[in-house]
Structures are given as C-alpha cells and as structure tokens.
C-alpha cells in the first residue's frame, strides 16, 4: 500500500489545514494545488472534506511538472534584476 494519497484541492486560506491536521497526518503542498497526505483515515477524510480530487502519483507528478516548467519559463523571461533576488524554480519529485 502506498504511504501517501495524492490529490488536488484549492487552498481556501484560514483553517484549510489546521494545527491538529498537521499533527494527525502527513501533509505537503506543491504547485498546481497538488497535495500529498498520509495514507490513513484522517488524511483521506481531510482530502475529501476539501473537495479534493484524488490523483495517481503519476498524475499528480505531471501536474507539478507542468507548473514547474511554466514557472521556469516565466523566470527565464524575467529581468536580470528579478533573477538576482529570485531562485529559478527547481524540479520537484513527489514523495
């Protein structure tokens, strides 16, 4: 069984995830509104309660890759001054 559940959900701000959520299950956010949560009851309930859409790991990775690629292209097109104070987005491999 996979250690994680993958999905997309829109961060609605305050209490989208709570202090208690962070203690109850693993949670990490990525570009493209991708969320990786612990594969347990509380993680699954959280994603469902947030109107999340479950993805396979490959689908989630593809969303992140597309976002990162777009962000890298955006960064490449910015001024040298912008680049001086912003790191180029790096590729992310989901856990």
């Amino acid at each position: 069984m996979s250690l994680f559940i993958y999905g997309t959900a829109t961060n609605t701000g305050k209490d989208f995830f709570t202090h208690q959520d962070r203690l109850d299950f693993f949670l990490a956010g990525y570009p493209g509104n991708v969320w990786v949560v612990g594969n347990n009851e509380k993680g699954a309930v959280w994603l469902a309660n947030k109107n999340g859409i479950t993805k396979t790991k490959e689908e989630a990775q593809a969303i992140v890759d597309a976002e990162i690629t777009a962000a890298q292209e955006d960064w490449d097109a910015t001024s040298e001054e912008f680049k001086e104070i912003n790191h180029r987005p790096i590729n992310i491999v989901l856990p």
Binding site: N11, T12, G13, K14, D15, F16, F17, T18, H19, Q20, D21, R22, L23, L27, A28, G29, Y30, P31, A71, D74, T78, E81, F82, E84, I85, N86, H87, I90, I92
Partner: protein
Amino acid sequence: MSQYNVLNGLKVRYLSADPPSPENGEVWYNSSAVRVEGVAGTGAWASGGSAPAGLSGGSMAGNNTDAMMWGGDTGGPPGAWPRTSYHYNGSSWTSDGTIPIAVNVTGQAGVGHTTAIMWGGNTPPGGQAAKTFEYNGSSWTAGGDLNQPRRYAYLTGAGPQTACIAMGGNPSLAKHENYNGSSWTAKTDFPSGANSIYGIGTQTATLGVSGNNGTTASWDGSSWTGIPSTLNNNRQYGAAGGANSNSAYVFGGGSSSAVELYNGTSWATQPSMSRARDNGGGSGISSNALIAGATYGNTSVEQFTIPFGTATISSS
C-alpha cells in the same frame, strides 16, 4: 527547549488574561479562568488567511495575529509594483496604509502592524537603499537614513520599531547598525557578510543567522559570539522569528520547507511548513506566533503555534 526560570524567573505571574504571545514553557496563573496555564505541546504550522497577492520579496512585521505586509515585486516593471500595505488579524488581510515608494526586499521589524518599520530595499531605477520608513497605524513616514545603504535588504531585521537591528544586504554586507527611533548607529560587523542575514531578538540579545552559509552568532549588546551553524544551508531568502537569541526560528528559503529552532545551545529540526517558501517574508516576535508569508505566484500563508496547556489547582 526554553526554560521557564530563564525566561520568567521563578515566580508564576498572576494575570487576569492570557499573555498575548507566550513562549513555549511559560507558565502563568489566569485569575479569570481560575487556573494555571502554560504553553506546552507540539507546535505545528496551519494555513492562514490567503494573502491579497503573491509577490516576490514582500516584507512582513509582527506576528500571526497582528502582522503587516508590504512591498514586493509583481515581475513587471517597478512602476507596476503595489504600494498598498496590508494588515493581518489572524484570519484575514485588510488594506492599511500606502508605502511611500514601490520597493521589494526591504529590511523589516516591528512587533505589530501599527509599529512596522522598513529600511533599505530595492527600488529600481536608482534606488533609495538608505531610506527608513515607519508606520504609525495610519501612515508611513520617513525615519532616519541608514549609515550603510542596503539594496536588497533581504528580509533581515529584528526588534521593535524604536530599537531594531539591521544586518546584511547586497552586496554581501557584514555591516550591522541599530536604530533608536530616529537614527541608526553603526555597531560591530556580523562575523560573515551575506545578502541575507536574519536577525532575531533585541538589540542586547540578538541572534544573527546568515541565510547564505548558515553562519550564526549571538550579540549581547557589545560583541558577537559564534555559535553552531544552522542544520540546513542554503536558506537564502528564507525568514526568521522568535522571542530572543535563545528562542529563535528560521524557516524556508530556497526550495526548503524546513524549520529549525535555536534554544541557546543548539539547532533542532522543527515541524516543517506544508510547502517550500522562497523570498516570501515572514516574522514573529514570539516562538508561539510565527507567520510565513506569500511567495511569488502563491498567496498561501502559514502560521505556527504551540497550543496552551492548562491545569486546575485544587485544595483537596
């Protein structure tokens, strides 16, 4: 871990309400609740109210229930950079004041939104990297100029508006100076020059942390003493906060969501943020009220707390 007797002496404070930003390990008696209360538990980052914009190099002062955010780069020409500053009340953001110039990566300090202060920063073309501006709850006004221009002040700084600390900045500065509410006075250089040096604490108990190479030193008001470096480097363009040089957090920077706490002796890993935050600002005057700001293209905000614990004392 913070020690109660070091933070507060041996007497338990008698208060009618909970203190606004208690430290982990702090204990007090709440006469209204008729019980002993304290901060003890496991800290964690929760989502905060989404910021009005996701900008590069925005700055922030205050804590997770009373913060100010200003400045930042939209990625477009400086003339298009926003000049509205925003106040955070713990759940949502409200427009609150207009900064005098379009600027990003300023120095930052202040204990709350009505006492925010900024200095230096990047204001192309030409720049006003020596300027200081103070907020009074209704408007930003000019303060004393820095002795050392700090273009790209990179989210450094610590202390209240009338006693804050500036270190670092472009190009790789070690220069350190303190503000008294009207003028800056040069002090002994930080041991290592860096574009990004985080300052935490007060003018007599400062922790300086290089975001570039992790070099860390404490300032006692007269000299710097080297202490262990952070566990994770590079943290350039991350953020920091905390109560003093014995209770200091650094978080984010680069592609990292990692958080570390210095307790006066060593650095230890703390619960991580939900996502990496680069150049997003962040602050906190207490170990129990940190806030991590929005980043370029990402308006999400996170806030760190450690829950209260309570105990009722019975006579029988």
